[in-house]
C-alpha cells in the first residue's frame, strides 16, 4: 500500500510538474511581455536543439558538432520557400532537407569514431558555410536572403509545438527497443553488432531523425530574422550549445537536456546583457570545465546521486 502510494506520488511529480510548466509557458504570450516572450522563445529553441541532439549523441556517445549545419539548412529552407508556401509546410521542408542531408552525411561519416567523428561533423558546418558564401558571392552575386517574417506569437507556438513533439519522440524512442539498441551502441558497439543489431542503419537513421528537429527549429527561427546570410545561418555556437547544454543538464534522463538548456541559456542571457558581458565567454568556459570535471553526469546526475545518498539505496537507479 505505502509503496503504491509512493509510486503514484512519484508519477504525479514526474508527469504533473512538467505539464504545469508547459501550460504556464503555453499561456505566457497572453500576458504579453515582449522581452520575456523572446527570452522564452530562445529558450525553447535551445531546449529543442538539446533534446534533439541527445536523441543521437547522448545515447550513442558519438559527439556530433553538425547541429549548426542542420539548423542552417532549416534557416535556408525558410528563406527559399517562405514566400511561396504556408509556414507549416516550410517547417516540414526544413526538417526533411536536414533529414536527407544527415542521412547522406551519416552514411559517409558514421564509420568514424570518437574525436574523428566530432571533428568531421564540425568541419561540415564550416564546409556548408564556405560553399554558400562562395555561391552567393560568385554566382548569385547577392549575399544573403530576405526572409518572410512571422508574428512573435506564431513563432512561439510553433516552437512550443515542435518542442513537445521532440520530447515525445525522444521519450518513445528511448523506451522502444531501438532506444535500448542505441544505449548498447554507446556501451560497446562491437558487442551490439554481434547480438544482431544492424548498428550502421540504427546509427544513420537516428542521426537523421535528430537532424529533423534541428532543421525544423531553424526554419521557424529564421522567420524571427528579416535577413539571413551564411554567417547568421551557420553560427558555430549553434553546434556547441546543444552539446554543452545537454552535458550540463545530464543526458541519462530526458529532463537533463531540458533543464540544462534553460539554466545555461538564462545564465548566458544574464552574462551577455549585464555588466559582465566582456567576460561572458570566460565564465561560460569555466562553468563548462567545472561541469565536465566535477559532475560528468550533469545536474540531473547530481540530483540522482544526492537522492541515492539520502535514501541509502544500494545502487543508482538505471535511468530510462
Amino acid at each position: 500500500m505505502g509503496l503504491k502510494k509512493l509510486f503514484t506520488a512519484q508519477a504525479a511529480i514526474k508527469w504533473g510538474i512538467p505539464l504545469i510548466i508547459l501550460i504556464l509557458v503555453g499561456v505566457f504570450p497572453v500576458f504579453h511581455s515582449t522581452y520575456y516572450q523572446t527570452l522564452i522563445t530562445f529558450a525553447l529553441m535551445y531546449m529543442t536543439l538539446s533534446v534533439a541532439w541527445t536523441i543521437f549523441s547522448g545515447t550513442t556517445g558519438y559527439i556530433s558538432l553538425a547541429s549548426a549545419a542542420f539548423y542552417g539548412i532549416g534557416i535556408y529552407a525558410s528563406a527559399l520557400f517562405g514566400e511561396k508556401m504556408p509556414f507549416f509546410l516550410v517547417i516540414l521542408i526544413g526538417g526533411a532537407a536536414s533529414f536527407i542531408f544527415a542521412f547522406i552525411i551519416g552514411a559517409i561519416t558514421l564509420r568514424l569514431r570518437g574525436i574523428f567523428f566530432s571533428m568531421f561533423t564540425f568541419g561540415l558546418v564550416l564546409l556548408a558555410y564556405q560553399v554558400l558564401i562562395w555561391y552567393e558571392l560568385t554566382i548569385k552575386n547577392i549575399r544573403g536572403y530576405f526572409v518572410v517574417i512571422q508574428s512573435d506569437n506564431a513563432i512561439f507556438y510553433y516552437l512550443l509545438g515542435l518542442f513537445i513533439i521532440t520530447i515525445i519522440v525522444s521519450y518513445v524512442l528511448k523506451r522502444s527497443k531501438y532506444g535500448l539498441a542505441l544505449s548498447s551502441i554507446g556501451e560497446n558497439e562491437n558487442a551490439s553488432e554481434h547480438i544482431g543489431v544492424n548498428v550502421t542503419l540504427v546509427k544513420i537513421l537516428t542521426f537523421s531523425l535528430s537532424a529533423v528537429f534541428m532543421g525544423a527549429a531553424g526554419a521557424i527561427m529564421a522567420t524571427k530574422l528579416s535577413y539571413i546570410d551564411p554567417n547568421i545561418a551557420f553560427d558555430p555556437m549553434i553546434s556547441f550549445s546543444p552539446a554543452l547544454m545537454a552535458t550540463f543538464g545530464g543526458m541519462g534522463n530526458i529532463y537533463g537536456p531540458v533543464i540544462g538548456s534553460v539554466i545555461f541559456y538564462f545564465i548566458q542571457d544574464r552574462l551577455q546583457t549585464g555588466p559582465l558581458q566582456n567576460y561572458y565567454k570566460l565564465i561560460f568556459g569555466a562553468v563548462l570545465v567545472g561541469t565536465i570535471m566535477y559532475m560528468p553526469s550533469g545536474i540531473v546526475g547530481l540530483i540522482q546521486k544526492l537522492q541515492k545518498r539520502i535514501s541509502g539505496a544500494k545502487s543508482a537507479p538505471i535511468t530510462g
Binding site: 527497443k177 539498441a181 554481434h194 547480438i195 544482431g196 544492424n198
Partner: protein, 245 residues
C-alpha cells in the same frame, strides 16, 4: 553436410598471415575445441566466422549458406552467436536488458517485447542470474559477467555458439560450473566451438579438437589423439622435451 565448414580460410594483417588456409568443420550437436599457443590465430578464426573481420580468401559456409562477406548482425540472425575473450557486456544497462537486447535483435523470429523479456528471464535462470535482473551489469563478478555474456549469446537463439575463453580468470569451482553450463547448452541442441586454455575442461568435454599454431592447423582429432600427438606436445612444450626424455 556439416553445420559449419571453412575451406582454405585465410586472413592477413599487413605482412602477418594470422590465419592461413585453415580447413575446418563442425557437425550438429558437437563440441569442438580450438586450442593452440598464444597468437596462434584462434580468436582471429572466431572473428572470421562471426564476420567481425572479413575473410581475405577462402570460404565459410553455415547450413549450406555462404556466409563470407556477410555483416556480423546478419551472421548472428542466421544462427551463430559468440562471446568475447575479454567480456563485452553492456555495463550500464541492466542484467535483464543485456539479454533482452539479444532476444529482440538477434532472434530471427523477431519476438514481441513481452516474449523477449520472458525468453531473457528464462535464460537468466538457466545461467543462475535471475536473482537481481534489474541491477546494472557492471556490478556482477567476472564469473557472472561471463555467464551473462553466455545468456546474451543464447538469447539470439543460435544453432552454433562460439565461446572464446569462457573459463579464463575463473577459479576451480567456477570452472567446474562453467563446464556444467556448456554441457547443458549442448543438451539444448546447440553446437559449440570453444577456445580454451584450461586443458582439463577441453579434454573432458570436447568431442573433437583442432590445434592451431602460427595461423596453421597442425592437428585435429579426439582429445585422446591430441593428448598423444607428437606435434602438439612439441608446440606446447618445445622439441627438447621429447628428444631429451
Amino acid at each position: 553436410m556439416h553445420l559449419l565448414q571453412g575451406e582454405k580460410v585465410t586472413v592477413a594483417f599487413g605482412g602477418l598471415t594470422a590465419v592461413s588456409e585453415v580447413d575446418f568443420h563442425v557437425d550438429k550437436g558437437e563440441i569442438l575445441g580450438l586450442i593452440g599457443p598464444n597468437g596462434a590465430g584462434k580468436t582471429t578464426l572466431f572473428n572470421l566466422i562471426s564476420a567481425a573481420i572479413p575473410v581475405k580468401s577462402g570460404k565459410i559456409t553455415f547450413k549450406d549458406t555462404n556466409i563470407t562477406g556477410k555483416k556480423p548482425y546478419q551472421v548472428t540472425r542466421l544462427g551463430i552467436a559468440r562471446t568475447f575473450q575479454t567480456v563485452k557486456i553492456f555495463g550500464n544497462l541492466s542484467v535483464l536488458d543485456n539479454v533482452r537486447l539479444a532476444a529482440l535483435f538477434g532472434d530471427p523470429k523477431r519476438p514481441s517485447a513481452s516474449q523477449a523479456t520472458k525468453d531473457a528471464m528464462e535464460l537468466l535462470e538457466f545461467v543462475g542470474l535471475q536473482k537481481d535482473p534489474n541491477s546494472p551489469a557492471r556490478d556482477l563478478t567476472l564469473a557472472n559477467q561471463k555467464r551473462l555474456e553466455m545468456a546474451r549469446a543464447l538469447a539470439a537463439k543460435p544453432e552454433l555458439l562460439l565461446l572464446d575463453e569462457l573459463m579464463a580468470g575463473l577459479n576451480h569451482t567456477e570452472v567446474a560450473e562453467a563446464m556444467d553450463d556448456i554441457r547443458q547448452v549442448r543438451d539444448r541442441g546447440i553446437t559449440i566451438i570453444m577456445i580454451e586454455h584450461v586443458m582439463k575442461a577441453i579434454m573432458s568435454i570436447c568431442d573433437r579438437i583442432v590445434v592451431l599454431n602460427y595461423g596453421k592447423k597442425i592437428a585435429e582429432g579426439t582429445p585422446q589423439e591430441i593428448a598423444n600427438s607428437k606435434t602438439v606436445i612439441e608446440v606446447y612444450l618445445g622439441e627438447e622435451c621429447i628428444t631429451g626424455s
